[in-house]
């Protein structure tokens, strides 16, 4: 039952940029799937992902050696795959232009092979006992698997195909390659399968078809010359298809031409489902990345007192900083800056005198992904005082030493007093405002000096309109020796 509040807590801490983050990664994964689906690359990527997951699991349960070995294999496999499947990757990325990557089904636009013409032609050939071998490449590049042959580049038509495979044709041996609505190559040689378990009635065409589909995602159609049968090879298997409509369906599936008008909602639903899977995976990874608690940090944060009522001023506080223990993923904790953590105490409800405020999670602002473990102290005490104005006399603060024979007998300070503003309790103790020190050493005769006022403590201030400088008119007289001294001098 504690799951729901936890989920709600996580949802509350999600920021808009987290949503964007998850959305972008989910979409990119989804589009990669759309581009590479059905190819060997996709299967390899799935295998790599499983390998990585196993390695992560092994590391998390502490199987160090296995984790280390899997990590090495994963790293090596990633490099090997890029090298081995460079052609497939290139063809997938080249065929797919940028707009296709971000939207739509990349395979739809590159295929425009007419399935009806192909179906009619294939079964025409079968009925007339004309052998044929037709290759329909998938997403993978098969150019390195083909040998020999002629570049043809002729538009697909029943007449064209039939004339190629007529025994009188000089190019009837070998296979033709159809891409889109063009016959790209004729009389090309396919690699033969090495399998020994295939039926004996399969001829060279069947072996060649199997040889190619074992190594690529292409579809190969075989028309048997002897038995007048149509067979389709794909994904390492070959099967006999008797009915033209079944053949057409297999062909359209391979070409990505599944009739969109038949059940459009089904395709959309399927894509939404796939996207949801990627979204779930991304959310899981994001949660694990941002919400794990593998690092604990203790930091001291200054307390900000906010919303202080105008009529009060803070006389004293029990503390000006609190110590926080925060846990979270090491990546986030390591990047934590002190200014990202803020502790605020709301004084809007405070009254004159001593106020105690507990410091809870509501007072503390920490970056998403981090969790507050402990706060010390758990509360702060704030003493508030009413702000008043007080008229205080000013006293000159003389320092140094008057020249010999001089005496300072009086001083008139203008203004004689000053109005200061501050907390009632603070001002109660202040009976005098002193000037900054005035040096006596150079004063030889009466005159006037100016001096600044020293406001101590810092919480007090001059009332509006009051000047912080005073003028002091002083009188210096010559110090007459005492009669006793004179008598002694005379003696």
């Amino acid at each position: 039952m504690e799951v729901i509040p936890k989920v709600l807590q996580v949802l509350r801490t999600i920021r808009p940029k987290d949503v964007l983050d998850i959305g972008i990664v989910s979409f990119v994964l989804f589009r990669f799937y759309m581009v590479f689906q059905g190819t060997n690359i996709w299967r390899i990527l799935v295998g790599l992902s499983i390998l990585w997951l196993l390695q992560y699991l092994a590391a998390s349960v502490g199987i160090i050696l296995t984790s280390w070995a899997l990590q090495g294999i994963t790293a090596a496999a990633a490099i090997i795959i890029i090298v081995v499947f460079r052609n497939e990757i290139r063809s997938a990325l080249l065929v797919t232009n940028i707009s296709n990557f971000f939207w739509g089904s990349p395979r739809h636009k590159k295929k425009a092979t007419p399935p009806d013409i192909i179906t009619d032609t294939v079964y025409y050939l079968a009925r007339n006992g004309i052998g044929a071998l037709i290759v329909f490449p998938g997403n993978e590049d098969i150019s390195e698997l083909l040998s020999g042959g002629l570049e043809w580049d002729g538009r697909v038509s029943q007449e064209m195909i039939v004339s190629i495979f007529m025994t009188s044709s000089p190019v009837h041996d070998g296979a033709i390659v159809i891409e889109g609505n063009k016959i790209k190559k004729v009389a090309t040689i396919l690699p033969l399968t090495q399998r020994q378990d295939i039926p004996t009635f399969y001829g060279t065409r069947h072996r060649a078809a199997l040889g190619l589909v074992e190594r690529s995602d292409a579809l190969v159609v075989v028309v048997s010359e002897e038995r007048g049968e149509v067979s389709v090879a794909k994904n390492g298997n070959i099967k006999w298809i008797n009915r033209p409509q079944d053949f057409k369906k297999v062909l359209m599936d391979h070409l990505g031409l599944e009739a969109p008008s038949r059940r459009p909602w089904r395709k959309i639903f399927s894509q939404i489902l796939i996207f949801s899977v990627f979204l779930t995976i991304t959310v899981g990874v994001w949660y694990g990345f941002t919400r794990s608690r593998d690092t604990l940090i203790a930091i001291s944060v200054p307390v900000e007192y906010i919303n202080r009522p105008q009529k009060y001023e803070i006389l004293d506080t029990s503390t000006n900083e609190v110590k926080l223990e925060i846990t979270g993923p090491s990546r986030i904790v390591r990047g934590l800056r002190p200014e990202q953590v803020v502790v605020r105490v709301d004084l809007s409800t405070a009254a004159e005198g001593t106020n105690t405020f507990p410091i809870t999670k509501e007072n503390i602002s920490i970056p998403p992904g981090l969790t507050l473990v402990k706060v010390r102290p758990g509360s702060v005490t704030v003493i508030l005082d009413i702000v008043i104005t007080k008229d205080v006399p000013i006293q000159a603060q003389w320092v140094g030493k008057l020249p010999p024979g001089k005496r300072l007998v009086s001083a008139l300070i203008m203004p004689p007093s000053v109005k200061i503003v501050g907390g009632k309790a603070v001002l109660k103790k202040i009976q005098t405002i002193y000037t900054s020190p005035i040096r006596l050493n150079d004063l030889v005769k009466s005159g006037t000096v100016t001096a600044k006022l020293v406001l101590v403590p810092a919480s007090i201030d001059l009332a509006p309109g009051e000047k912080d400088v005073v003028e002091i008119s002083y009188i210096i007289v010559d110090d007459t020796p005492s009669p006793v001294n004179e008598e002694m001098h005379i003696d």
């Binding site: 006293q395 603060q397 320092v399 009976q431």
Partner: protein, 159 residues
């Protein structure tokens, strides 16, 4: 109440007053207090409410007292002088009472001295010894017996 009890209470009160006066003077270790009535107490009046018991005629800070007159009045004193004196002359003293010299250094009360005052005119003073730590701003607050501040003298002790 019996007569003997009254007598005992009155006697006890007198003893307490005498002891109190004696010890309060003895506690002023830094102070020399001198009283010098110029005019004899002949017309003492009984205290009445609200009327001030005396009027300050003159109050100054000085370095010395000679013939009950302040010598070398000033507002700045060198610590080398060794002492300072607060001289106070009061007139229109209506009855026997006292005034207080409260010495304040940097807003901290350092010494409080109670000085006897006699009708109708009285001169008195209090004196403190100076040490190096006494440098800085000073004031002497002159109060009556009721604690009313009648005058404040401000001065500095310097090098």
């Amino acid at each position: 109440m019996r007569d003997s009890t009254w007598k005992f209470l009155v006697f006890g009160a007198i003893v307490l007053v005498i002891l109190g006066t004696t010890f309060s003077h003895a506690s002023q270790d830094k102070v020399e207090v001198t009283k010098s009535p110029k005019v004899k107490d002949t017309n003492a009046k009984k205290p009445t409410s609200n009327e001030p018991p005396f009027v300050i005629e003159r109050a100054v800070m000085c370095e010395d007292i000679r013939d009950m007159e302040p010598v070398k009045e000033a507002i700045v004193f060198s610590v080398e002088n060794g002492h300072i004196i607060c001289f106070t002359a009061v007139k229109n003293v209506r009855y026997k009472t006292y005034l207080v010299h409260r010495w304040v250094h940097k807003d901290e009360v350092t010494t409080t001295m109670r000085l006897k005052v006699r009708p109708p005119y009285w001169r008195t003073y209090s004196k403190i010894q100076l040490r190096e730590t006494d440098k800085g701003p000073w004031r002497v607050e002159i109060l009556d017996a009721n604690g009313n501040v009648l005058k404040v003298l401000r001065f500095s002790v310097t090098d």
